[in-house]
Amino acid sequence: MIALAQGFLPDMFAGFLVNIQVAAAAVLLGMLGGLPLALLRWHAPRSSVLIRPLIRLMQAAPVYVIMFFLLNLLPSHVPWFGKRLLVTGMAALILSQAINMIAYMAENGYQALEHLHRREWAQTVLFLPNVMRGFIVVVMSSGLGAAVGVSEVVGVTLRHAQRHPDLGDRVALFLMVMAFFVTVFSTANALLRVAVRRLTARPRVK
């Protein structure tokens, strides 16, 4: 078990870092795309006629299908300041996650603006933990990248598992990763709950 972990853990952490990077990029793109939509909807209420169906459409889009759609239809290279950037499975994964995140940020951003307008500071700052929740959701669903060759934690685990012919070793490997995720995300959720409690706590009356 220890030998199994020694060979695997460095790769697992490297893979998890890729999940984090994908989620960070998707959340960033989500903010860049979603917050302008929220502002537009706030400042020009008539635009809701277009923006709300667009958000619903993005929410309903199956991430996995979008990822393959993008992977197969994007050009293999895109120009970038005079250079040719390689479009990989990673780009398709980030963009497909970003579509859901744009809808998520547009909804949450609009909600935050409403609270801000009503001077409900505590509710307004809930936008931040909501961003973190979105981040966690994307970290978890970025495991879909294993299907397009992204070396994130699920893909790494699968490759290691294939090297072990013994079923017990394979199951142990997966249980190790699942324990890691349960620990990390249970902690993250607990911290989020604490953060929400503190952010929404009423100031003490002296």
Partner: protein, 573 residues
């Protein structure tokens, strides 16, 4: 090579008959060549003479200065004094550029030898699998020598030169320690990296292997190196240099090969007949005299096929005294569609293609619907998708009900079990759960498509059911049942209906991810089949519409259930 020394006695007599006025002079020459009269021409010589004859005839027809009016491709080449050959740019040892940009490799040497024989300059035109035949048809190049397999499907589009100059097999290359050793070892979870548009991709698709396709062969190697795929497949010739690289060979090896494919030079269909004849005769001569073999050795490529061809053509029987080649010595083109019958509605699909093409302003490819083999796979994919969606919705409901029951149990260990299981379900990425199910199922039973379907249904249900189970439990608590009693399940569902709908729709949305563990549902089939198709836009549009419709149908179905049942259940509170 074109000397009197190589003239056979038959052709000498023929020359005597044609040139009676110089009979005495020729007779003297023939006497001098007496040893030659005693034997028939060697096969190589006979074929070479035939090529020489065609070339000589073409020269007589060539009028310098007005090349466009030359009768055919060969005459145009001679008139122009330039042979334009389409060659690949990055195919190791066959045709690639060195650091200075100069072309080198077996095919390059072959092009040079042909230009030299014709007595013209060589102009290399970079080409690739996509452009090698269109450039010929457009008259941009005179000849293509570009690692092109001779298939029956390509025959109508170019004149292939036979005998072929090389033969490849498709090699499956993977990590040296990989257990893959043949078709039987391929698993649904394997990711195969394949060249885009390769005719053999369907063989992998039919085995439900996950496919990733790449435009250039170098991308395949990168994908293998960075662990993106379990193996890559390409012509074995492509791996020739890599296999001699000690570092590379330590990590990777050819796991198995299949589908031998003869490679042919090709000329244009229009006006290319005489050039094809000349090159055929020349190829036979160069097989027989070992020219091909020598060029292959110079470039360090595998020589097994060429050695066999040399033995074949150097022996009597394949090349006649007049240089003609016996048909039995020529390899036929490979028919890659031999098992591929058209669908009964292929004509209608072609009509739809035309109609869509006129709307889109460009060609639309729906060939997957025209082939019975691919259509069967697509049909099966749709059925699997329906089964997956219905199954995962039912299993989500079942898991939710199960967790709710456990949470409500009076027995503490059962409540703790429910808490632990839902924590795992809610914090483990769904793809990881799918693969966990795949690993366990693969270890316990023979992993097949139906097994994959069941695994996917269970895991999708567990993942979404762990959230929905919590929602049901919260709803049950909110109903404040009397001490020692449980609220009615239907009333609980009515309270948690919004959350239930969210997770049931989520199960539908997540169902395509089952493709990761090899469930041959619609996405899986389309992405695999389009691996050998260049135009994928329309099919991926269809795919998006299909899944969006599936999600919308699920939402509609749930709204019907709400109207018919859930509203009544709310009164049960």
């Amino acid at each position: 090579m074109n000397s009197w020394m190589s003239i056979s006695w038959r052709s000498a007599i023929a020359a005597l008959r044609r040139r009676r006025p110089r009979f005495g002079w020729l007779l003297v020459l023939l006497v001098l060549q007496a040893p030659g009269l005693a034997r028939a021409a060697l096969p190589a010589e006979a074929a070479q003479m035939r090529a020489d004859g065609i070339l000589a005839d073409a020269r007589t027809e060539t009028t310098p200065g007005n090349c466009s009016s030359a009768p055919d491709v060969l005459a145009q080449v001679l008139c122009r004094g330039v042979l334009r050959v389409g060659l690949r740019t990055e195919y190791p040892r066959f045709s690639e550029r060195d650091q200075d940009g100069n072309f080198e490799g077996f095919e390059v040497d072959l092009a040079r030898a042909i230009a030299q024989y014709l007595g013209v300059r060589l102009r290399i035109v970079p080409t690739d699998p996509r452009s090698r035949i269109p450039l010929l048809a457009a008259g941009t190049i005179d000849l293509t020598i570009a690692t092109m397999g001779h298939t029956a499907q390509r025959d109508p589009n170019a004149r292939f030169v036979r005998p072929h100059y090389y033969e490849s097999h498709t090699a499956v290359v993977g990590p040296r320690d990989s257990p893959v050793g043949g078709w039987a070892d391929l698993q649904a979870s394997h990711v195969a990296c394949l060249p885009l548009g390769a005719s053999f991709n369907i063989l992998f698709a039919q085995r439900h292997v996950r496919l990733l396709t790449f435009e250039t062969p170098i991308q395949l190697l990168d994908a293998l190196k960075f662990g993106q795929c379990a193996f890559v497949a390409h012509d074995d010739t492509f791996f020739a240099r890599l296999l001699t690289d000690a570092d590379w060979s330590r990590q990777f090896a050819i796991k198995f090969t299949f589908a031998p494919l003869p490679w042919g030079m090709a000329v244009a269909v229009d006006g290319g007949a005489r050039f094809q004849d000349l090159l055929s005769a020349l190829s036979a001569a160069w097989h027989a005299d070992g020219t091909f073999l020598a060029l292959a050795r110079k470039n360090h490529i595998d020589t097994e096929f060429l050695a066999n061809q040399k033995a074949l053509f150097a022996a009597p029987g394949c090349i006649g005294q007049d240089g003609t080649i016996a048909a039995r010595c020529l390899m036929p083109p490979v028919d890659t569609s031999s098992s591929d019958k058209p669908t009964s509605f292929a004509g209608a699909v072609a009509a739809v293609e035309g109609w869509l093409g006129s709307l889109a302003g460009g060609p639309v490819d729906l060939s997957l619907l025209k082939s019975q083999a691919t259509f069967d796979l697509l049909y099966e994919g749709v059925l699997y998708s329906f089964a997956l969606v219905i199954g995962s919705m039912l299993s989500t409901t079942a898991f939710a009900a199960g967790f709710n029951w456990l949470f409500a149990s009076a027995f503490l260990p059962l409540r703790l079990l429910a808490g632990a299981l839902t924590a795992v379900g809610q914090t483990t990425p769904m793809p990881l759960l799918l693969f966990f199910g795949y690993i366990v199922a693969g270890g316990l039973t023979y992993y097949s498509a139906p097994v994959a379907l069941v695994v996917a249904i269970v895991m999708l249900g567990f993942y979404n059911g762990s959230y929905a189970g919590h929602a049901l439990h919260d709803a049950a608590v909110s109903l404040h049942p009397p001490e020692g009693q449980k609220p009615l399940f239907r009333a609980t569902v009515a309270v948690a209906w919004t959350q239930m709908v969210a997770f049931l729709v989520n199960a539908t949305k997540g169902s395509p991810a089952a493709d990761m563990i090899g469930v041959p549902e619609f996405l899986n089939v389309v992405s695999d089949l389009t691996a050998h198709q260049r135009d994928r836009v329309v099919l991926y549009m269809v795919l998006l519409v299909f899944y969006s419709t599936l999600v919308l149908t699920a939402i509609w179905l749930l709204s019907v259930i709400e109207t018919r049942f859930v509203r009544r259940w709310r009164a049960l509170r």
